[in-house]
């Protein structure tokens, strides 16, 4: 007998898995999501956060572009809290780019993307940071910033309100089978090592770049190509809108204003293991150099960190390579294809189209389960709970956190000054069993994402682990050390300019004032 029973087990806690969970819950299907790390800790949380208008794909991949157009409009309706409607520009900076223009204009027309050619003077009036190299500019109002963490949380919380369950840090070890029918999953808590089983009628594999690895546990093949992309975070926004290079999609051609920072992206390199995403200096350098072709200030702004994500490109069998491969997605019906009943994979795609991907795969699974309820995820807003979504996650603007100089409301205490996170903003997450470490708090609140990269809030959060969760000092201090180390891993790739000053302050605080290095070494020695 399995430890727990449900209708559908969803594997993967990225945007696709979260969307699938919500879709199932809204159709009244009992579901549990299992994720081997934290929610949005894989591909989704490591995206550049561009809500695609579709302009990037409109020449080479019309179907993907049309999906972006439609889904972008739906998301603005159902998840406005997760989107900043910045709009975007497509700019050409070389003669070669200029040759791409007529194809871009035609692509936009064919796929229904709103696109307006404006003079360079006008573009520069709106975006003074546009580089001298910019030759032409198109205004694409439906580009935007999509907060990937908030999107996943919004979907998951909406699903939880409808009875769905979430298990983070829970890895699938294998499957339960009766003949050709998958009847459940075998799970292991990666922190405690505890093993459990869940019985179910169907399993949805929504693990993106990991879906081949998960399918292999059942002996079936999913041909997914993990494609690494590098992003560089600058300490402030350089432009109001998203800036895209108007050319054949390539490397380093996107700059996204993401809340308090600007994100430069990205690259495309095949990797064999989605867990191993080394950041090479050449890639970081390329992001800076390419970004500087479009915007002034890229080379002089403070780069705060670099990070790597991995896209799941689905091999549709074509000869295509890398970016030539479709950003479309596919639902793989393993019953029909491999004779394995109760197992379905959803692969490919991108964050912008997560909802549509969820709808398609749940359509199939629901039909198999005999559920005829239609999908309503495109109509019902995520924010349909009693507690407004803006409260779910700290939003200084929406919450009216007063400015230091205002006197109309008392200045509230802050736990993370860089990102204006208040002590109260982390309280509900400390009570959530899905949250294990301080990185998980960061993904939900942005604490530690600002210029000091957790130098200050790591201590305050460790303190809260003791007071709010009853953790031992040892466990809380280890969490603090882990948090600082994970921030450091991104910081060290962009280590020039004032980053060195910041690093000396961090080390002055944690090594010289707190003696944290010795505390961690002492606890390690005792443990071993």
């Amino acid at each position: 007998m399995p430890d727990l029973s449900t209708g559908v087990v969803v594997i993967g806690g990225g945007s696709t898995g979260a969307g699938v969970l919500r879709d199932l819950a809204m159709r009244g299907i009992d579901a549990v999501l299992v994720e081997k790390g934290d929610l949005a800790s894989g591909t989704t949380g490591r995206s550049h956060g561009l809500l695609h208008s579709g302009g990037r794909y409109c020449v080479n991949d019309e179907a993907a572009a049309i999906e972006c157009v439609e889904e972008g409009r739906i998301l603005r309706r159902i998840a406005p809290s997760t989107i900043e409607d910045t709009g975007g520009y497509f700019v050409s900076v070389t003669e070669e780019d200029t040759e791409w223009e007529p194809r871009f204009v035609e692509g936009c027309r064919k796929t229904g993307i709103t696109c307006e050619r404006i003079s360079v003077d006008e573009a520069r009036r709106r975006e003074p940071a546009l580089s001298k190299q910019v030759r032409t500019a198109f205004w694409v109002p439906e580009d935007g910033h999509l907060d990937p963490f908030f999107l996943v949380l919004g979907n998951v919380e909406s699903a939880r309100r409808r009875g769905a369950k979430v298990m983070t840090y829970t890895q699938v070890q294998g499957f339960l089978r009766e003949g050709e029918q998958v009847t459940g999953v075998r799970l292991r808590d990666v922190v405690s090592g505890t093993e459990t089983t869940i019985g179910c009628q169907a399993v949805i594999n929504a693990t993106g770049a990991w879906s081949g690895l998960v399918a292999r546990l059942l002996g079936v093949e999913v041909k997914v190509v993990p494609m690494k992309g590098i992003m560089v975070v600058l300490s402030h926004r350089l432009a109001h809108a998203a800036i895209n290079r108007c050319h054949k999609p390539g490397d380093g051609d996107i700059i996204v204003p993401a809340l308090s920072v600007a994100i430069l992206g990205t690259t495309a390199a095949k990797v064999s293991n989605p867990e191993e995403l080394p950041i090479e200096w050449g890639e970081v350098r390329q992001m800076i150099d390419d970004g500087a072709m479009m915007l002034d200030g890229v080379t002089t702004a403070r780069a705060m960190r670099a990070y790597a994500g991995v896209r799941p490109l689905y091999d549709l069998g074509a000869e295509a390579e890398g970016r030539e491969m479709s950003r479309n997605f596919a639902v793989i019906d393993h019953e029909q294809r491999d004779g394995v009943k109760g197992f379905t994979s959803i692969v490919g795609g991108k964050v912008t189209t997560y909802r549509l991907m969820a709808e398609r795969v749940v359509d199939l699974v629901a039909r198999r389960l005999g559920v005829t309820t239609v999908c309503t995820t495109a109509q019902v807003p995520l924010d349909d709970g009693e507690r407004p979504m803006d409260e779910l996650r700290h939003r200084p603007a929406a919450l009216g956190v007063p400015k230091p100089h205002g006197d109309e409301a008392p200045l509230q205490p802050l736990l993370c000054e860089c990102e204006m996170v208040r002590p109260a903003d982390v309280t509900p997450w400390l009570a959530d069993p899905a949250v294990r470490g301080l990185e998980d708090i960061r993904r939900r609140t942005r604490s530690g994402m600002g210029p000091c990269q957790a130098a200050i809030c790591s201590y305050r959060l460790a303190a809260r682990l003791v007071t709010d969760r009853g953790l031992s000092g040892e466990a809380a201090t280890a969490a603090m050390g882990d948090f600082l180390e994970s921030r450091w891993r991104g910081v060290r790739h962009v280590f020039w300019g004032s980053q060195l000053r910041q690093a000396q302050v961090t080390s002055g605080l944690h090594l010289e004032l707190l003696n944290l290095d010795r505390q961690l070494a002492m606890d390690r020695d005792v443990a071993s």
Binding site: P410, R492, S507
Partner: protein
Amino acid sequence: MKTDIAVVGSGLAALTAVRALRQAGRDVTLVWPGLTSLYFLAATVDVLGYADVGAGGAVQNPSDGVARLIAEHPDHPYALAGLPALQAGLALLLDWFKEAGLDWQGSPTRNLMLPTATGTPKPSCLVPVTMAAGDLDDPMPIVLCGFAGYQDFAPELAASNLQRSWAKGSRRVTAVRIGLPGFNPDRLFTSIDIARRFEEPSFVTEVGALIQAAIPAGPVRIGLPAVLGLTRTRDIHAALMARAGHPVFEIPTLPPSVPALRLFDRLRKQLQETGTELIWAAPAHAAEVHNRRCTRISLKAAGREQPLEARAFILALEDWVDGAFRAGVHLVREPFFGNVIAEHPKPADRTAPSLFSPQPYAQLGYRVTDHLQPADEAGTPLADNVFIAGGAIAGYDPSGTKSRGGMAVATGYRAAQEALAA
């Protein structure tokens, strides 16, 4: 502008050098690059906490520890400065602190183990008297007392850690929080706000009574965040102990560090009161050198470049926080002689994979001669009358060995002696 000896820097190295030069009767101009982060972080003078960055226990006797270090590493900045410079520098500091009305204590032959805000024992050499009762050689049980809504000292976290490690868990540490009168936990307040309120005698009495009520009578001492006033700390500390009925000691908090503000503000004022010229918030650069003598440096003051002429110069910049060096993507330059001090194919080469390991970037700096003059690769001085002190000397990262303060004091003192002779 003209002076006898110019000292550039804002940390302990610069201050030690200035004091030594003033005692020798010389005219000194101190150029502060501005408020640096160390100014907000410092709390004690750590001479040598650990012999090695890796494993191993704390150094009991810092003088002995430094002597061993010098014997084993003849190129170490401590070796260049010499043990006598360290000892004389520490004595000079203690003497100066007393004259300036700052109560500090310590001896170069003994490290005090004091708990930090994570509850970690840390070896320090010179400490404010208000911290000394935290000495972990004393078995008296400790109650760590925090304040409601105050996030920069967490008694629960610190007590749990200290209880575990102090004398292998055989001592007693507990945590308590009290509400501070007039401080609403739902309003923003900082260490400095609290320190200001402690300057009022009625507040001290109120807090003392609250501590007494929260902590039962008995032989315990109370560890409080280091916020007991900005200027009248000695009186506040005494009054608080009398009212609370327990020994009280301070523990440094997250920045801003009130002990650092007390120390640097008092010493700065004392220097001004006793006739040291002080140029505030003026980043210095561009040394002009003729025949191996520096005639002047340039200050960015009041929006323009201003030359400062002197017979000798002490550059006592504390690494990166003082803006001692400029790190481009590949090249690291120093601003006085315009030399490249390091080149890195990849910026990440400047770092170690772990934040808690010795960092290559922290070891960058000026190569120096036996006389602490900046030197070229062959060891020839770039200028005979310029001397380097503090973190800007190449070849060491004091973070892991807890030795930043001692190295600053030793090299600052030694640089002053060299400048006197130059």
